[in-house]
């Protein structure tokens, strides 16, 4: 994420090393804790958590209703509540409504459910334009939303985070919950993509 940085990477890296050494030397941070935090966000916490919520909502109508009524407690049922996702609202995509999530002021994002946000979500371009030209933004992701479909944009904040419940694609009626989980992408849960059905083998040339 150095695309718009004007500072030298090696200078920054050295400065970070200085701070780390001083914090360790003073006993303010423990190197093992630092490694544990990095490992957690690189390997354990990520969009696969959110995908479980979506797949469960697709197969369990009662869960889905609770999820849309009270996102926070319903997500907690799956043990996925956590830091930076303390208050959650889940918004449902339908044939009439497409939801898109942004954080114009910062890059607030449900960390415990989707992991850390991608560069594009944190970019000035996305933060500024998602609220004034959402259809144009979605076109940049290759997603054309018909003018007959309402686009709703949700601006997250420090205390309240959103998750999109994407539409379950046609042709997935016989799939198990676990198989459905593997179809759900991060972008679909932010609203910059739709969930795609894998191409059936017989259609592959």
């Amino acid at each position: 994420m150095s695309s718009h940085s004007q500072h030298s990477e090696s200078d920054i890296a050295l400065r970070v090393k200085a701070i780390e050494s001083l914090l360790v030397e003073k006993g303010i941070i423990d190197p093992a804790t630092i490694d544990m935090i990095i490992d957690a966000y690189e390997h354990r916490i990520g969009p696969h958590n959110g995908a479980r919520i979506v797949a469960r909502a697709w197969v369990d109508p009662n869960f889905k209703q609770r999820l849309l009524t009270d996102g926070t407690s319903t997500i907690a049922e799956l043990g996925l509540a956590g830091f930076s996702s303390e208050h959650m609202i889940v918004v449902e995509n339908t044939p009439e409504v497409h939801n898109l999530i942004v954080c114009t002021l910062c890059s607030c994002y449900p960390w415990a459910i989707l992991g850390l946000p991608p560069t594009w979500y944190k970019s000035f371009a996305y933060r500024s334009r998602a609220v004034i030209d959402p259809r144009g933004v979605l076109r940049e992701f290759g997603l054309e939303i018909s003018n007959h479909v309402e686009v709703r944009v949700w601006d997250s904040n420090a205390d309240l985070r959103y998750l999109v419940l994407p539409e379950r694609p046609l042709g997935t009626e016989t799939m198990t919950e676990a198989a459905l989980t593997s179809l759900v992408t991060r972008n679909a849960m932010i609203g910059t993509a739709k969930v795609q059905v894998p191409t059936p083998p017989e259609l592959v040339a």
Binding site: V16, I38, T104, R129, I132, F141
Partner: protein, 107 residues
């Protein structure tokens, strides 16, 4: 505070940088800044203070810095304000490091 972070509705900030198969962190220093911030705002100051510290960055600097550069700015500012690590200590560490590099080259 009505600072440079209030970006909603602005035009001309470029194309959206969409990266396929993006790693969680793009360098070791990004990962370290994240983890050190996480560790400190769990123990020494709340995450909201970190967010506010990012917003206190001078506008020109805010708009020319990457996400984790803004986090680094916030981390340094708060470590200083909470008397955990001062700017002078960082500069001294860097000077000593530079000195040790020069000495080892001379050997």
């Amino acid at each position: 505070m009505n600072g440079p972070h209030d970006l909603g509705g602005m035009h001309n900030l470029g194309a959206i940088p969409i990266e396929v198969n993006e790693p969680v962190f793009h360098s070791e220093w990004e990962a370290k800044v994240f983890a050190m911030s996480f560790a400190t705002f769990k123990n020494y100051f709340p995450v909201d203070e970190t967010r506010h510290a990012c917003e206190r960055m001078p506008p020109g600097q805010y708009l020319s810095s990457s996400y984790y550069e803004r986090w680094l700015y916030a981390l340094e500012l708060l470590l200083n304000e909470h008397h955990l690590v001062t700017k002078e200590e960082i500069e001294e560490w860097l000077a000593q490091f530079a000195h040790s590099q020069t000495s080892s080259k001379a050997d």
